[in-house]
């Protein structure tokens, strides 16, 4: 009776997430309508292709190392030490998370770029004729990655520390282990699942990172930028091979890191309460810690502030001065008054909203199936919702572009490229794992007896869903939806492959006004994006 719906959902998800990626892998071995190794040969013979692949790999591993080195100690400081302002600073420290990738890159450009505030200050102070540095290449990319991705290590490690059983640490001490030995032999091994999960997330995000290399790469090639430029240059065959290569690297990385997480489920055995934060008593150390905390938070806030400042600069007024000479709210006024400026905002908002509603409905259906059928179908559906997470955004964008550029309904392909539907659909697919992660976890926490209780009181399936399930899932739905909405709103990598002039989203418009040297307008878009994202996150995390 219920089975057809489950099968239907599984088929729909397969068509949306597996089929496009499979097509890429097939198309990589085809040219001119026949099987061929031409594209593969073209890839293999080019030095820069291998170079880009290598760069992508090492940048990703370096990002993991760097983000971990920053994020893990910061998490220990905020979870274990108590000092004035700890609670507020602890929240501020997660701020980089509210910057959409392209907006973060933009802010870094205005702040640390060759004509950014920091470089200008150095130039003025030292009396230099030219900018002291250029923000370009691998170093610049790593800087952006470390800034935006250490948050994963920070949040995951903190969550792990908060769940740690204090008696584990006391047990180690009573067996004669000192502080460092306890950290090395007990605390870190117990945090391994969280640290491995953060490492995996940073690795996957770096692998798919597009904005930073696109803006700061210069001559430094990585796979994501290679793919997009090949695709935009019309060499579809080579783009397929590049995309396939990146997908394979992602899957291998995923597999390796998943193994590193460790099979033993260590969380189950931890029953006691977490250790209390250690209050710093000495006044000097106390205020020193607070001062350092604020300095760190300020450093993290600088990009946001920079964006705000630059958004007040009228077009063409800021050339060589340290501080912009003129200020205006005109950039914000233009966003609303000029229909051509307003257009991208309207586009982004409705496309993100449609994608979010779609993805929430889809995951609600998936949630029912996963909870009700613990057997194979449920597991398959859950796995399907996770697939888009395992491939970089560029791969997904190319895959969707390829699948929906041909009219062949009998094999599940229709032309959607150039229509209003393509971007919301791509956002929806890309955000499946985000929404599913939150909503499926919510479903798991529901007591199955509640369904039965509602049924025994005479409620039908629909009534149970609306009166019992959805209200109980509200926090999970809100969190998943907010995160999905914010991600779709700030999307750059999918959009750049799939947009048309009429459906151009904010990120694409930012790029185009930046090309016209209208930094104030670009920053104003960035601020608006940042505020909407922050607002969505705030709503999503409210309990």
């Amino acid at each position: 009776m219920k089975r057809p719906w489950g099968v239907l959902l599984a088929l729909l998800l397969t068509w949306l997430v597996v089929y496009p990626i499979g097509l890429i892998l097939i198309e990589a071995f085809r040219a001119d309508g026949a099987w061929s190794l031409v594209n593969l040969r073209e890839f293999a013979e080019h030095r820069e292709e291998w170079g880009a692949l290598w760069n992508t790999l090492w940048i990703s591993f370096a990002s993991v190392a760097l983000a971990g080195v920053i994020g893990i100690p910061v998490a220990f400081v905020f979870e274990r030490l108590d000092f004035p302002g700890r609670r507020m600073l602890g929240a501020l420290v997660a701020l980089p998370a509210v910057l959409p990738p392209l907006v973060g890159v933009l802010a870094f450009m205005f702040l640390y770029g060759e004509s950014g505030f920091v470089a200008r200050s150095v130039q003025v102070v030292l009396g230099l004729a030219n900018a002291p540095w250029r923000l370009q290449g691998a170093g610049a990319i790593l800087l952006v990655h470390a800034y935006s991705m250490y948050v994963y290590f920070y949040l995951f490690t903190r969550a792990g520390l908060a769940r740690l059983d204090a008696s584990m640490l006391e047990a180690a001490q009573s067996l004669g282990a000192g502080r460092w030995e306890t950290l090395r032999r007990v605390t870190l091994p117990l945090l391994r699942p969280q640290i491995a999960a953060a490492a995996l997330l940073v690795f996957m995000t770096s692998l798919g990172s597009f904005s930073a290399p696109y803006i700061f790469g210069g001559g430094f090639r990585v796979m994501t930028t290679q793919i997009v430029s090949t695709k935009l240059n019309g060499n579809d065959g080579l783009a397929m091979v590049q995309t396939a290569m990146l997908a394979i690297v992602a899957l291998v990385g995923l597999w390796l890191l998943e193994r590193g997480r460790g099979a033993r489920n260590v969380a189950v055995l931890q029953k006691g309460a977490a250790p209390d934060a250690h209050a710093i008593r000495a006044p000097l150390a106390r205020w020193g810690a607070t001062g350092l905390g604020w300095a760190f938070a300020l450093f993290l806030l600088l990009p946001h502030l920079t964006l705000l400042v630059v958004s007040l600069v009228p077009r063409g007024t800021w050339t060589t001065e340290l501080i912009p000479p003129a200020w205006t709210l005109g950039n914000y006024a233009a966003l609303l008054a000029d229909p051509e400026r307003l257009r991208p905002m309207v586009n982004s908002l409705w496309m993100a909203a449609v994608a979010t509603v779609g993805v929430v409905l889809l995951t609600l259906g998936a949630g029912r199936m996963v909870v009700q059928r613990k057997a194979r179908l449920g597991r398959a559906i859950e796995a399907l919702t996770n697939v888009p997470w395992a491939v970089p955004g560029t791969v997904l964008a190319i895959a969707v572009a390829t699948t929906f550029s041909v009219h062949a309904p009998w094999v599940g392909r229709v032309v959607l490229i150039g229509t209003l539907a393509i971007l919301p659909l791509a956002y929806l697919i890309r955000n499946l794992p985000i929404a599913a992660g939150s909503i499926l976890a919510g479903f798991r926490q529901l007591d199955p007896a509640l369904d039965e209780a509602a049924a025994s009181l005479g409620a039908g399936r629909a009534r149970t869903m609306w009166r019992v399930t959805v209200p109980l899932l509200r926090p999970a739905i809100l969190a998943g939806a907010a995160l999905a909405f914010a991600t779709a709103l700030g999307d750059f990598v999918t959009s750049i492959v799939l947009y048309t002039y009429h459906t151009r989203p904010i990120s694409i418009e930012i790029l185009s006004v930046l090309r016209g040297y209208d930094v104030g307008q670009a920053a104003a878009y960035g601020v608006v994006l940042m505020l909407i994202s922050a607002g969505a996150m705030l709503i999503g995390t409210r309990r």
Binding site: D165, S167, M168, E170, A171, A172, Q173, S174, L175, G176, A177, G178, R185, V186, P189, L190, R192, G262, R264, N265, V266, V268, L269, Q270, K271, G272
Partner: protein, 336 residues
């Protein structure tokens, strides 16, 4: 005179407004087993944690063999501890858990094997913690604490995580194992039965203060105050007046009593010391509960409710009866 093995002097601890432990002092001979007994919030766990070094003292000293260990951290005290939830390291095997506190020398493996044999878990070395039952985990925790040959062993509610059916057996095994090694042990429990079965000595705590320390028999037969008398074993407390040395009047009835109290008192009687008579305190049977071959009756009287242990057939529910006590213990009203 040689100093006692463990000397605790004036231990005190305050958490904000709450005095968790107040001026606690006692001594313990080598090889003795002491049970800290008290209701929740009585300060027994805080005491144990201060002894182990996990909690800073506000005042007091702890001496082992005459040497002050108060300034030492937990790692330097060489005390073993079995935690309430065992705190076994889930990322390590049984062997690695037990070997955690041992230095990496040649004797390590044989020492691990030795303590595992002691707790009857020989051959479990390579198991992971998740594969063990609750009782096995408890024994691994014990083996881990014993492996480095600590001077003192602490057990925090050692049996509270076990099924009731397993508890009684484990209790006997635990005591036998610890006595075999001869290690000085302090354990915390809120169950009187457990304290009496495991401890050579029992210290009763209430509101952070030591009420009485003695052997189980001493506590039961000669409680020093009303709290100990009613907390240790079953007892009913009734208001009375001392009429003559060794006599207390409750309602219109006199019965024998012990204790040095005079005037208005609270008199405490144990169920086995109360009997049904023809001319005692009048009352009504309000409850009858089976206890093996006998029964526990609750009789409501004008002076208060009394518990009586007597043969089943002694009275029916709702029956009007008379009761009196053969033995009692009286305390002045203010001595609670």
């Amino acid at each position: 005179m040689t100093a006692p093995f463990l000397q605790v002097e004036g231990l005190s601890k305050r958490f904000g407004d709450h005095q968790a432990v107040a001026d606690l002092s006692f001594t313990l001979a080598r090889g003795a087993m002491l049970a800290l007994l008290g209701p929740s919030g009585s300060g027994k766990t805080t005491t144990l944690r201060m002894l182990a070094g996990f909690e800073q003292l506000d005042a007091g000293r702890i001496l082992v063999e005459g040497r002050d260990v108060t300034p030492l951290g937990p790692a330097a005290r060489r005390f073993g501890m079995v935690f309430q939830h065992y705190a076994l390291f889930p990322h390590l095997s049984v062997f690695e858990n037990v070997a955690f506190g041992l230095s990496k020398d040649a004797d390590r493996a044989s020492r691990v094997a030795e303590v595992l044999r002691l707790v009857d878990l020989a051959g479990f070395e390579s198991r992971s913690i998740g594969q063990l039952s609750g009782g096995q985990q408890q024994r691994v925790a014990l083996a881990r604490a014993l492996a480095p040959e600590p001077r003192l062993l602490f057990l925090d509610e050692p049996l509270s995580n076990l099924d009731p059916s397993l508890r009684e057996r484990t209790r006997a095994e635990l005591r036998a194992a610890l006595k075999q090694i001869g290690i000085t042990t302090i354990l915390v429990t809120h169950e009187q039965e457990e304290a009496f079965a495991l401890g050579d000595l029992v210290a009763v705590l209430k509101d952070g203060r030591l009420q009485q320390l003695g052997t189980p028999t001493e506590l039961y037969e000669h409680p020093q105050n009303q709290f100990v008398a009613t907390f240790v074993g079953r007892a009913s407390a009734l208001p009375g007046t001392i009429t003559a040395p060794g006599r207390v009047r409750v309602g219109d009835v006199d019965w024998p009593t012990a204790g040095s109290a005079t005037g208005a008192v609270t008199t405490v009687v144990r169920p086995e010391d109360v009997v049904f008579t023809d001319s005692g305190l009048p009352g009504t049977v309000v409850e009858r509960r089976y206890l093996g071959g006998r029964a526990l009756f609750r009789v409501s009287t004008a002076a208060g409710t009394l518990e009586i242990e007597a043969p089943m057939a002694s009275a029916e529910l709702e029956a009007k009866v008379h009761v009196t006590a053969r033995r009692s213990l009286s305390f002045n009203r203010d001595s609670v």
